[in-house]
Amino acid sequence: MSMIKRVRKSGGLGQLLIPLVAMGILLLFNLFRDPGFYAIGVAVNNSGNRVLTGNIISIIDSASELAIIAMGMTLVTAACGGQDISVGAVGTIAGSIFVKALKGFSSINLGTVLLALLACCLVTVLFKLFNGTLVSVFRIQPMIATLILFSCGRSIAYWIVGSATPQIDSPIISAMGMTIPGIPIPTPIFGVILVGALLALIFRFTTLRLYTESVGVNEGAARLNGINPILIKLLSFVILGLCVAVAGVIGTCRMGQVSHKTLLIDIEMDAILAVAIGGNSLGGGRFKISGSILGAYIIQMLTTTLLAMRVDPVNIKAYKAVVIIIIVMAGSPVVKNRLTTLWNRRRSGGLHAASGRG
């Protein structure tokens, strides 16, 4: 109800309308196709924990890394008007640092895990600052600036660990990647909630949103109002770096190993897509993190739906592409303007009728 009111007030269709409708259609489609899709059960997993199972749980769980990276990607997009395509590669570096650090400690306990996490956040942020400096100080197009680490990041990850797929095995690691004993909800979901809540707090207690949007819309004007665009852009990369570190660690813990070839593979494109599906302009400016999170879940929902329909995994990407074309086109300025015009015409038509009677 309040959504409709807000849409009315802004005199057009809200940014979240199309992703919400897309999500709704996917949900309805699955409901008609097979109501059993939504069944949630309880099972005992390998480590003897009781865990929730079912497609919905699996969707929310597997989309975690994507959702977290999409949040950071939204900020970089908003501030710089471009995207960071090295998130997957740098996420793999994060995973490698995490594993390398843990291998260096004599035992894996809560303290050493936290230290390893800290180390990997630090390194990831440094790599992202490299990207950020190229983009903000040297004004290189984000796609080109981040292409460097996109190409060489996975090699760096391999050098760091020095072997193809080093494994780490510990109850703490599996608790982080799968479930904590006694809690039936997969841990990565808490990761998303944690990162989302932290960002919400940052927006609540700082002016980051206003500054980022100002820099994204009109950098020159923002500077004349005392904002330092370089700092704001760097900050967006720092936040993206932290998101990437968390996602890399979650991915690593999920597998119990770091594989520089498969960890977070292709996630950069999905993250950019999530930002776009969420109705955010890839040219920067105003943004909604919630849209990108929604976008991430839509992408994962699509994959899981297709798997549930027994589509051959080899063909999934093609089917996904078709649906995504439709969503992205529905959110395109052309279609949006048409819909808005129709909407307004219907409204003003109603007004004319009312005033005619009055």
Partner: protein, 503 residues
């Protein structure tokens, strides 16, 4: 349709969410006539033009174009062009990296093989025919703005346009260039083109137009022959009230003598774009920088605000030494700056009126002290009311407001920070007479309240009316300072022209 009418718009209506932009407006354009379309900001001029050029779809009314049977339906700019309606906007919409000839013929070349030599020849003959000083093979970007605009007009004319719309064509031209443009306009008039001339410069309307249509609040006030409508009456019709305001402002002429305390003082201040200069302003003083375009007046105030990289100089604010190397430093020292180019440096177009108003104040408060919604709403409501900003709501993107209202939003932004010293660079450019007067009055009132103000304008009368001290610049040098009795147009002109002030 009468014989010499080329365009007739009848009963045009256009509604936007929350406002009726056009209410039953008629407009008639005759062959070989220059017709000025006048009105304050938000009067509906732009909307009418956009309906005519297919940018907006009208909600009601009809359009007839000479030579086209029945009603002309315009749904897109392409339709408008096909109907013989061409527009040359304030901002040049050609491709600067192409040559003049390429710009004139791009998109309408026949056949798969392009004979550039032929096109160059055709371009050359059109350019000479219209007396436009440009060569066909010259890159467009190497021409002055005025010539670029004339090339755009030549392109339109060559496409056999019957209706030529010039939207604020003179706002970035100097006097000589304006005269060149007028010569071209008169020439086209002689060839039977109907020209719609949208401008804020009253003198220019009287210099070149035959007829005037006045709009106010989306309604037609009337259509007049220029000789029947004295300038004062035109202004009164645009504002919808008898023009005592002008007189009122003259009374303001008893400018308050500024105080003795120096608020801001610079010694040998220099930036990458200026030569070193000295400057000081007292409490409650209104001063101005004047000089021709490119004389360095804007660059000087940009140096004061730290907008360009400062390369040297000593600055004292209220007697204390200060370092001002960035806009943020200047803001902390109590300086505000309304930039010359509103669209490029002033507004943040996609953001709401609210965000645009509170921006500078929020930056002063700091990164970790965001203002609450309620606090913002309080300030925004206060200033929207005080400056009479016309906006559907505080959530409206500022880019969708009219020029004058955008300017008021930026003024509100700086007034909200309660600066000791406010720099206004061309605050009245491209905005209507009514708002212009409002801004001038506001400047005098703020000075009355002890704010120091630097006021820059291309219109000397406006500066004479508001400033008690004028700094005259030529070629990045301060060549004179006028106060008291010297503040006359003649004296300013003489100083700008250089009465032997330097070797």
């Amino acid at each position: 349709m009468q014989g010499d009418v080329v365009l007739s718009m009848r009963g045009i209506c256009k509604e936007f969410p929350g406002t009726k932009a056009l209410k039953n407006v008629d407009f008639t354009l005759r062959r070989g006539e220059i017709h000025a379309l006048m009105g304050e900001n938000g009067a509906g001029k732009s909307t009418l033009i956009k309906v005519l050029t297919g940018v907006y779809e009208k909600d009601g009314g009809s359009i007839h174009v000479d030579g086209i049977e029945g009603e002309t339906h315009i749904h897109s700019p392409q339709d408008a062009q096909n109907a013989g309606i061409s527009t040359v906007y304030q901002e040049i919409t050609l491709c600067p990296n192409l040559t003049v000839a390429e710009n004139m013929f791009i998109g309408r070349m026949e056949g798969p093989v392009v004979h550039w030599k032929d096109y160059d020849k055709r371009a050359a003959s059109i350019l000479t025919g219209l007396g436009i000083p440009a060569r066909p093979r010259q890159a467009l970007s190497s021409c002055s703005l005025a010539v670029q605009q004339m090339v755009a007009i030549a392109r339109a004319v060559d496409m056999n346009c019957k209706v030529l719309i010039l939207d604020e064509p003179t706002s970035s031209l100097d006097e000589k260039e304006v005269e060149m443009l007028f010569t071209l306009m008169r020439d086209l008039r002689g060839r039977g083109v109907g020209i719609i001339f949208v401008t804020h410069f009253l003198e220019q309307v009287y210099a070149v137009s035959d007829r005037i249509t006045v709009l106010r609040n989306g309604e037609l006030v009337g259509e007049y022959a220029v000789k029947d409508l004295p300038q004062v009456e035109l202004v009164a019709k645009m504002m919808g009230k008898a023009l005592d305001d002008m007189a009122q402002l003259e009374q303001f002429d008893q400018k308050k003598a500024p105080g003795q305390d120096v608020v801001y003082e610079a010694e040998r201040l220099a930036s990458v774009n200026t030569k070193p200069f000295d400057f000081r302003i007292r409490k409650g003083e209104v001063n101005g920088f004047t000089g021709l375009l490119g004389s360095g007046r804007s660059e000087s105030v940009r140096a004061i605000f730290g907008a360009d990289r400062v390369t040297g100089g000593r600055i004292r604010v209220k007697g204390k030494d200060k370092k001002i190397a960035s806009p943020h430093d200047a803001m902390k020292s109590g300086i505000g700056y309304l930039p010359e180019d509103r669209k490029r440096d002033g507004i943040i177009a996609d953001l709401s009126v609210r965000d645009n108003i509170i921006l500078a104040m929020q930056v002063m408060k700091g990164f970790f002290h965001p203002m609450s919604r309620a606090e913002m709403a309080k300030f925004v409501d206060e200033y929207v009311a005080a400056l009479n900003i016309k906006t559907a709501s505080s959530e409206t993107p500022v880019g969708s407001l009219s020029g004058g209202n955008q300017q008021k939003v930026i003024l509100a932004r700086w007034l909200l920070t309660h600066p000791d010293y406010l720099i206004l660079d061309e605050p009245t450019r491209g905005i209507d007479v009514g708002t212009k007067l409002e801004i001038q009055k506001l400047v005098l009132k703020l000075a009355e309240e002890n704010m120091s103000i630097t006021f820059i304008s291309s219109e000397i009368e406006e500066m004479l009316r508001t400033c008690s001290r004028l700094i005259v610049m030529r070629d990045s040098n301060i060549v004179g300072e006028l106060t008291g009795d010297e503040l006359t147009q003649a004296q300013v002109m003489k100083t700008i022209a250089g009465g032997g002030a330097e070797a």
